[in-house]
């Protein structure tokens, strides 16, 4: 059991000295990390921590056990090894694996400083709870209490249901003004807008001379005004008034839950929001950390005897196996490309409009803005904006990227195209909403029967119907009434419905 003091509690003096050295290098380069506390752990502990998402205390749940099973098997069989883990808290805790060689430990420390700098300074992390270690432990206590009161099976299966909709949240909600965020609540805003004045037709325009009335307010006009108003009233009675992305929040506010269920759902939602920025910045985060560990190691920290080992392991981490892309590699290469472009001034109108490929390749205005630029990028971007803004044609060519698709005829995935626009589009699609389908609540009283209606915003890919059904079963357990999902299957608009153990779908 690691003790969480405010020093590197169990580092050997050697490693503590190395830590100090790496930290100094990191600060020299201009990184602004939180304080970092390293813990030395063995492989079993690191597998456990990885299964628990880096947090030593989580609520009891079987899926952590399942992940642990997978990690420890992978480790035993030599298929995978977790080198490094760091959690986004202040101070940040990071874990070093006991069996790693000294040069690995150094590299990991440098890598961790990259991550921690990113946690602290990237704006998408600005709203996360930096005391999550305590919060997670509190959640654990609460859920254990519920389990004592209501039974482990009952609580655990309710957690299962909540986890099924874990991804149905709104990643941008933390950045919305609180008043706007709350407006999803039971049409409160609708009532104030639509209140009619008594005794007077509210659609009628004011007329000073009564003989003008039939010209200013002709019957058709009044009719239309009435229709508009009716629609407005109807809209304001609808809950939610507009589609809501945070399905979990909607359920928290509207589902008929017991107190403890309400609490459990809130806990699962809380933890889901905590992990959002990490999902949003996977490529950048790993890229940034890899950029800095390479920089610190190769320019400062590496000793002569360590070069080969470092190169070997670094190559392993950044390797792209054929047919896959590695977020570490894409990230670090993109950061380097940006640095190079801004160093040489390869941006802006003049550069973009230049047709001469040779001139473009040799372009160098000796601006030296690269370092400044990548720090700016690490502050403002997330993966989506990072790829959208900085993935260039040259970059795709250099890394030999392509898009692939599944060919039903040959029953395998095949290369489709090397056009960088298509690559960008595909990549963006995969990282938008963290690769999850866009699902909204559109009606909490569907067909006036208290049924839940969700809407899948179809963007070219169908839902996996089998999984959707399982998820709807879980939703049904929370909502307590039939659940409907409006989606598209093979180009046909459909409503999937689940009620009391029965699935139906109908075309609309």
């Amino acid at each position: 059991m690691p003790s969480f003091g405010f020093t590197d509690s169990n580092l050997t003096p050697d490693l503590a000295r190395l830590h100090e050295e790496i930290r100094r290098h990191a600060l020299d380069y201009g990184l602004e990390p939180f304080e970092v506390i390293f813990e030395m752990v063995d492989s079993d502990a690191i597998n456990s921590l990885a299964a628990l998402g880096g947090f030593p205390v989580r609520y009891p749940h079987w899926r952590f056990g399942m992940d642990y099973d997978q990690f420890s098997k992978g480790y035993e069989w030599g298929l995978q090894k977790i080198y490094e883990m760091v959690i986004n808290t202040d101070p940040s805790y990071a874990y070093l694996m006991k069996s790693n060689s000294l040069v690995d430990q150094k590299t990991v420390m440098a890598h961790v400083y990259g991550h921690v700098d990113f946690f602290k300074n990237n704006q998408w992390f600005s709203k996360t709870n930096r005391k999550m270690l305590d919060t997670m432990a509190n959640h654990a206590v609460k859920i254990r209490d519920f389990m004592d009161l209501y039974g482990q099976d009952t609580v655990e299966s309710f957690i299962d249901h909540c986890l099924a909709i874990e991804s149905l949240i709104d990643p941008f909600l933390p950045f919305v003004q609180p008043s706007v965020a709350r407006s999803t609540n039971s049409g409160a805003q609708g009532e104030s807008t639509g209140a009619p004045e008594a005794g007077r037709d509210p659609g009628r325009l004011k007329v000073d001379r009564s003989y003008m009335d039939k010209f200013i307010n002709p019957p058709e006009f009044l009719e239309e005004q009435k229709r508009k108003r009716d629609a407005q009233v109807k809209q304001s009675r609808k809950n939610p008034a507009e589609p809501v992305k945070d399905v979990m929040l909607f359920l928290l506010e509207n589902a008929p839950l017991e107190d403890w269920q309400h609490e459990v759902l809130a806990i699962v939602r809380d933890e889901a929001y905590y992990f959002v920025p990490q999902g949003q910045t996977k490529i950048m985060n790993e890229g940034w950390a890899s950029y800095w560990h390479s920089k610190i190691m190769t320019e400062r920290a590496l000793t002569d005897s360590e070069v080969i080992d470092f190169c070997d392991h670094n190559a392993g981490v950044l390797a792209m196996s054929p047919g896959r892309i590695n977020p570490y590699k894409i990230g670090v290469e993109l950061f380097r490309e940006i640095e190079d472009r801004w160093n040489r001034g390869k941006f802006g109108k003049e550069y973009d409009e230049c047709d001469d490929l040779v001139a473009k390749a040799k372009w160098d205005q000796k601006l030296g803005l690269g370092r400044k630029k990548i720090f700016e990028v690490r502050r403002v971007c997330n993966d989506v904006t990072f790829i959208d803004e900085y993935l260039t044609e040259e970059f795709c060519d250099r890394l030999k990227l392509y898009t692939y698709a599944f060919n039903r005829r040959t029953n395998q995935h095949e290369i489709v195209d090397r056009d960088y626009r298509k690559i960008k589009e595909k990549l963006l699609f995969q990282i938008s909403n963290m690769g999850q389908p866009f699902i909204y609540v559109t009606d909490g009283n569907f067909q006036n029967k208290g049924e839940l209606l969700l809407w899948h915003k179809h963007q070219g890919l169908d839902l996996d119907v089998k999984w959707a059904r399982e998820t709807m079963t879980a939703l049904h357990e929370i909502w307590g009434r039939p659940v409907n999902v409006e989606t598209e299957v093979d180009g046909q608009k459909k409503i999937l419905r689940y009620s009391e153990g029965e699935f139906t779908d109908r075309s609309v």
Binding site: P56, W62, G65, K73, I165, P322, I415, Q430, M434, D464
Partner: protein
């Protein structure tokens, strides 16, 4: 943290076992576990234990990859076409991730089988047990080899002696043990009673037993082994195949051999009898002869001979004799009727079971093992 994960892990195992119990019939029927047997572990594919969520259909999704190749080339690393389930949710995930596989020990598997079929624990035959000796270090002696010297106790003795004789100096606490102070660990021999068992599988490999029938026998044998292994400490298995004559083979051959020609069941019983007589004296062993056939025998004469061997030789020596008749298109199923006629259905040490098809395997296992013999 370690405690946390232990708790979650055992919870996960519990759920896994629950799932396997629920789907035991499916696993048994499909024979999915056999051939996946390591030394004491079974790896079981579990398709559905993940938490559901809304996600895109897998294969249509496609993605971005990296490497050489032109449009239309298959991307590498896919395995067999149509193999596995792609994740492909995030950049970097590969197509072709596999479902969950969990390892169970054979002991755990036997427990699941036992619970699901409500199998009684087997009562080994009372006085017929093997004795084995184990040594346990329990005491201290003043004589012994140096390798067993008990340092702490020796030191204590020396200290006691020096204090008693007044040679101990607290300022200069040097303790010198003499030969008399030496203490050694000593052991006690424990006699443990162990139950050993032998399972003798006999199978008709004449032309009328097809592949499907053999597959059924194979599945049954796997589960019977698993159960008996959980009940006895030491267990041996022997295999006899027969058509018109019988011979002993190894496990591989047992399930693969196919002969043509006639069927003399008595040949197998005779060989079995000889095996028991020479190698497995009934006083030391729990004996389980299993015979699988499609019920055809060459002649009524031979059948009468079989009954005789059973009655006079095999039954008195065995815990229980089990006959499983696998339905086949070619077999008449006569032997089952003969046995039933001779011993009745309620005989103490004869269990008869008919296995119509793969679906019937589980019930047949219950037939065989349900008596607790």
């Amino acid at each position: 943290m370690i405690d946390n994960i232990r708790r979650d892990h055992s919870r996960f195992r519990q759920i896994v076992k629950g799932k396997i119990k629920q789907n035991l019939k499916k696993y048994v029927t499909n024979g999915e576990m056999i051939g996946r047997k390591g030394k004491d572990m079974v790896t079981i594919p579990l398709p559905q234990i993940e938490i559901p969520r809304f996600r895109y259909g897998d294969k249509e999704q496609g993605g971005v990859g990296q490497g050489e190749g032109k449009a239309g080339d298959p991307i590498p690393g896919q395995g067999q076409p149509g193999d596995g389930e792609g994740q492909g949710q995030q950049a970097g995930n590969s197509p072709g991730d596999h479902g969950l596989e969990v390892d169970l020990t054979l002991q755990e598997l036997a427990e699941i089988l036992g619970e699901q079929l409500e199998l009684p624990k087997i009562e080994p035959r009372g006085h017929k047990t093997l004795k084995s000796k184990t040594d346990r270090y329990t005491g201290i002696a003043s004589q012994g080899p140096n390798s067993l010297r008990h340092f702490k106790r020796t030191f204590k003795e020396a200290l006691k002696r020096q204090i008693a004789s007044g040679t101990y100096d607290p300022e200069r606490p040097i303790i010198i043990p003499t030969k008399k102070d030496m203490r050694f660990r000593s052991w006690k021999s424990d006699i443990r009673h162990e139950n050993n068992a032998v399972v003798i599988y006999m199978m008709d490999v004449s032309g009328s037993m097809g592949d499907e029938q053999k597959e059924i026998v194979r599945t049954e044998a796997f589960w019977i082994d698993t159960w008996l292994r959980s009940q006895y400490k030491g267990i041996e298995t022997r295999y006899i195949i027969h058509d018109a004559s019988a011979r002993e083979v190894d496990e591989q051959t047992f399930f693969r051999t196919r002969e043509s020609g006639g069927t003399l069941i008595s040949s197998a019983y005779k060989l079995c009898q000889k095996m028991i007589e020479t190698e497995y004296p009934a006083s030391d062993w729990n004996i389980y002869p299993f015979h699988f056939s499609d019920g055809d025998n060459w002649s009524g004469e031979d059948t009468r001979l079989c009954m005789e061997i059973l009655e006079n030789e095999l039954l008195p020596q065995s815990n229980v004799f089990c006959y499983g008749q696998v339905e086949s298109r070619y077999g008449s199923g006569q032997f089952y009727k003969d046995l039933k006629e001779h011993f009745g259905t309620e005989h103490d040490s004869v269990i008869l079971s008919k296995i119509e098809n793969k679906e019937g395997i589980l019930m047949s296992i219950k037939d065989f093992l349900g008596k607790g013999k």
